[in-house]
């Protein structure tokens, strides 16, 4: 890989991460159907971008986990005001996906299954953290039916739509 290309990727990866971080919040506010009671589907495009990096094997080319922590902290500060939860959720879910990646093949469907596992880890961490500070008085059944299922469905569809565009972008940049 040419030096300038590497530097270019170093910049573009976090910039897209930042844009998606903001788009997540905007989509949650503007797409009314996502959070229409009782359904609570949350856009996780930031997380999907982190997944693409693992799926296409570029996480070793960049300070990947530094970005994960930085955006986790930013997520906590900007969206909740309570520090810790999403930093751990992002970190744990990406570590799990990174470790499991060698057991999956190159097909898109295998990739999406890996993403689903990551999403479940992410949501579980937020559920446990919510129990810890008394934010979560939702039963586990409602949590799965109204939150995990619609969230996973929405984000898997988004990840499938942008899978090949993201793949070609990574190919061009790295």
């Amino acid at each position: 890989m040419a030096g300038w290309q590497f530097i270019r990727f170093q910049f573009i990866f976090p910039i897209i991460l930042l844009i998606l971080f903001l788009v997540d919040g905007n989509l949650a506010a503007s797409l009314g159907f996502l959070m229409k009671e009782p359904i609570h589907a949350m856009p996780m495009l930031t997380f999907t971008w982190l997944f693409y990096a693992i799926q296409f094997g570029v996480q070793k080319e960049i300070p990947y986990y530094s970005y994960v922590v930085i955006f986790g902290v930013l997520f906590d500060i900007f969206y909740t005001g309570i520090l810790g939860t999403y930093t751990v959720a992002f970190l744990l879910a990406t570590i799990v996906m990174d470790r499991l990646r060698p057991y999956f093949d190159e097909r898109m469907m295998s990739g999406l299954l890996l993403l689903l596992i990551g999403q479940i880890v992410y949501l579980l961490v937020t559920f446990v953290a919510g129990q810890l500070i008394g934010s979560a008085n939702l039963s586990i059944l409602s949590f799965v039916v109204y939150l995990v299922l619609p969230t996973a469905a929405f984000n898997l569809i988004m990840a499938a739509i942008f899978y090949f565009p993201a793949w070609s972008l990574f190919q061009r940049l790295v």
Binding site: G25, G32, L74, I82, T126
Partner: protein
């Protein structure tokens, strides 16, 4: 025996766990205690909020189109129902104007300048909504600079949708009434019953039923299904008379000593593109 983790890793994991739990619990406690977030958090919030405002222009446009397309599908039946309602509203509006004028002149006679029902509104645009599991929060584009204060009520298209919980310089965070945290939605409310009012506070939000809960009501209180619930204006910065919702269920607590009511919020929490911040004229 093969060790899964080295001793060093175990110690690091334990310390890490304690630090994270401490951070979550500590910052949760701190955000409830203070009126303004710490300086660093405030700067990050202001900067990110500015960027979010720029990003929100195209996404809001897409969102509006998607929502109008969805609305188009049930326009016909909705239009029919609304037409029937409009006539009644015109009459009510005239009545309201007359009563308001009368109220003004009576206040003048009593030399009463401001009362709990007086409030000004400040309109704000929602730049983002937290894409998170709990903590249903909005970020709005008005902050301390526009006079927003922690604890102010925020109104949606039909009634109260939440309270301001964090104020930064140019934006602030609104915690929605659907937030399930223990003490975020303690709003002082009044049940407008057929025979007299009943005062109390919202004690909880039932996330399974999607309804606000008011408990510990005396058994003698006359509260019925269908009664309107409004804010009482007692304590805090929330003015009186903002619509909260309607009673959908009246039950008794587990010992049968008091009543518990479930209130269906009047405003649609999925339509929050623009909101109004109610600035009470009687600040306590």
């Amino acid at each position: 025996m093969r060790k899964i983790f080295s001793s060093r890793t175990i110690v690091l994991l334990m310390i890490g766990f304690l630090v994270v739990v401490g951070l979550i619990a500590g910052s949760n406690w701190w955000s409830k205690k203070t009126n303004n977030p710490p300086f660093f958090q405030r700067v990050v919030n202001d900067l990110t909020g500015g960027a979010a405002k720029v990003i929100s222009i195209p996404t809001n446009a897409v969102g509006t189109r998607a929502n109008s397309l969805a609305n188009l599908l049930n326009t016909f039946s909705e239009n029919k129902a609304l037409k029937a309602k409009v006539d009644g509203y015109a009459q009510n509006k005239v009545k309201l104007q007359t009563v308001e004028e009368e109220n003004q002149s009576l206040k003048k006679q009593l030399d009463l300048k401001k009362s709990l029902t007086d409030y000004e509104t400040l309109s704000a645009v929602t730049t983002s909504r937290s894409p998170t599991t709990w903590n249903s929060q909005l970020v709005i584009d008005k902050g301390a600079k526009s006079g927003v204060k922690k604890g102010m009520a925020v109104l949606g298209d039909s009634g109260i949708i939440g309270l301001v919980t964090e104020v930064n310089t140019v934006n602030s965070k609104v915690t929605l009434i659907s937030d399930t945290s223990e003490d975020t939605n303690r709003i002082a409310i009044t049940v407008k019953g057929g025979s007299g009012d009943t005062n109390g506070i919202v004690t909880d939000y039932d996330a399974d039923k999607k309804m606000l809960v008011m408990s510990s009501i005396a058994n003698s209180a006359n509260v019925n299904k269908g009664d309107t619930v409004v804010t009482s204006g007692l304590g805090g910065l929330v003015p009186s008379g903002l619509l909260v919702g309607k009673i959908s269920e009246v039950t008794s607590d587990s010992y049968g000593l008091s009543k518990k009511i479930y209130i269906e919020p009047s405003s649609d929490l999925s339509k929050i593109a623009t909101v109004l911040v109610a600035k009470s004229s009687m600040e306590s």
